[in-house]
Point group: D2
Chain length 238, copies 4
């Protein structure tokens, strides 16, 4: 039986690094994001490196889209074993409180929390049938601290963290490992380098290093599962 | 200049106790909830006890309703000083994860988090003009712990707690006190007594005792403000 | 039956304010600290304001001293009801890690944690016989965060917080209220004013305002007990 | 330049598993514990498996002993690179509060906290010269929760956690990785099996699996360092 994995929020940066790592570990990777073009480009990179990937363009805040995408995945991967799924969709959002529009507050929540809920129901359902699999949520500093200016992002990210805790407590005993990773610092992406210039070596979270930590979570013995992992550069104040 | 207060979620139980207490402290209390009939009944109780209250029937999850209600309040209370506002709207919600409908997950969030966001923008705006006032959010055990079965409620309540933290950090320096109260146990309400029978004395949170704690938060010297307060019966395991 | 109270660490500043407040509430206050002269001076202030106080000079890190002092208290107050006891002994301690001597690390722990343990055993024993009373520990920012430079102070203060939690969970059901107060900021003391000059109004914790919060904790209805309270000036970053 | 490692609390169970793992990774392992005989037995096992280890019988609560042991290590390993050090000394301690003797409270603290302080000063000093190395503290459920009956153990373990936080914040920027691991459950040791019988598979933390997590912490890229890791069996309630 071959293995597969799901990366939701398979954009450039961390999403791509996760997908590539899971492919290198032998998983056929289902790539989810809104931007179909980018997914195809990522798929090509994975395939040309000898891996397998299939894009599923999808707006994860839409129940219909999520239903459709997971329907297709079920068909394609029904003989396979789902190893790991990551909900990595996020949006940086910072603003004085009185400048946050209700639309923005709602869309931040939909992107970071509702989408996670919708996808988790599908993923947990698939993993429960196997009594196996790891579901990981990407968190941030704002997941554990409501700083000034972060009312919208922190509210959504706290909500995501609560979801991860509830799922851990309900599904660990069924063999599904659920974990929440707090990314406490800037991720070293091309876009960040363009905006702020390159940082000092090691001061921004390396995407391959993060992907390694996610894979390690999946590789944990079931007698030593981690629920929450914080990751930050050696140079980061906290 | 006379004083006024706002109780959002002025239903029976804690909401009513808060409104009565604020009225006894000399505040004209704006009562918000969906059920107009109940609000009028509560208003009558307050008035017959010598206090002042005005009902504003309102669905706090609707921006239009919130706009309309706060527009009316602004007119009525523009010469007054807003002392304290409480966001007390909540909904108990417990269910196995795979049985939670997306509609329920969204409506829990709207009731417990989005409504708080919409009302907070109005309240903070009013209080910022005075450089004075206390905004309190009613939390629960699920605000700090995502237990099994509480994916929906905890996700919403965590989000509310994040909101309270962000508002504290942004608005304390402007003289607006923002606090989050964790109710860790069962509130002693008529409905609970009907369902489960009366509890042993002191084992359920007394609504007047809670209201006293909320008023104490408002009465704190600005050199000793509390951001988070936990309240539980002496008999409660935690 | 008359009331009494205990203030351990009844030095100038917060200790004195607590003692004066408890005396004003009608308690005969037992004053504990090492410095006998200061205790006598505080006693005089309380008595001249119409209150009652007795000094018990005592090194709370010494089991013999604690045994002796509580032996004397038992005799003097055996007919009375112990209302509230505060462990307020602390020491500010900040230093690069490699500069902390083992003696300093141990003496910080003895002052802030061992002394609390020794006194708590006496206090809990007294309160358990009444099924009544409130035991409060004074904490600090370092009680919940191990910052750089605070290895010694944070280690001791974390230990004190753990003690407060264990006592709450063991003795709340017996009617003894145990609480931990986090003082997050500078207390407005004469000594601080001498060193740093007077602060802007409200930016340092007022000792009478803190004492008010401690008394409020003691006054809580047993259906709404607080385990942990944070107090900070409106102007404080956190 | 060859590598070395330090295991403090190299008793049977987790300590032995850590030492064996570090030896397999190519480190010459310094073994510290009070029981010289056991250390020699562990050394033999490591050597017979092709590894290197040296016993340093030592009471880590004694400054003199710690000075002596680290003096010997410095001589032996001065040309080597210290990779990882673990403070694993602990003592299970549970008792009604009023039954804890002051001697026990103090000895728990010395074993779990003071010993960590004494050894950390030596270790940090060694690692600061290399700008490299990982220092890991073994924590427990009692490190983050003061349960009833755990006043002594939780007080000591909270203190240890504070120490780990302060060291992380002071020394991460110097290239020393400091982490705290929360063991939330029973470790699968021979002694436990004798007392309670064998558990269901996977329901007790496997010592080799824990050792793997410790090594993974040491292997983290410096752009993604973890400060705190929780480990628990899939079956554990939390």
């Amino acid at each position: 039986m071959s293995s597969w994995a799901i990366v939701i929020g398979a954009g450039p940066g961390l999403g791509a690094a996760l997908a590539k790592r899971f492919a290198r570990e032998g998983c056929h990777v289902a790539l989810l994001a809104r931007n179909a073009e980018r997914l195809t480009s990522l798929q090509k990179q994975i395939v040309s490196a000898g891996g397998q990937a299939t894009p599923f363009a999808c707006d994860v805040t839409s129940k219909e889209d999520v239903d459709r995408a997971f329907g297709l995945m079920k068909e394609q991967f029904q003989q396979n074993r789902l190893e790991v799924a990551v909900y990595n969709t996020a949006a940086f959002s910072m603003s004085p409180f009185l400048s946050i529009s209700p639309e923005k507050f709602e869309s931040d929540w939909k992107t970071m929390t509702l989408g996670a809920f919708l996808c988790s129901q599908k993923i947990v359902d698939l993993m429960a049938k196997q009594n196996h699999g790891t579901l990981i949520f990407t968190g941030a500093t704002a997941s554990v601290r409501g700083s000034s200016g972060f009312a919208s992002m922190a509210s959504a990210k706290f909500g995501l963290r609560a979801l991860s805790q509830s799922l851990s407590r309900e599904f660990h005993p069924q063999g599904i490992h659920v974990a929440h990773v707090i990314i406490d610092g800037y991720i070293d992406t091309e876009q960040l380098n363009k905006t702020f210039g390159p940082g000092e070596p090691g001061t921004r979270l390396d995407t391959d290093a993060i992907a390694n930590e996610f894979w390690n979570l999946h590789s944990q013995d079931r007698s030593t599962w981690t629920q929450e992992l914080d990751l930050r550069p050696f140079s980061e104040s906290f």
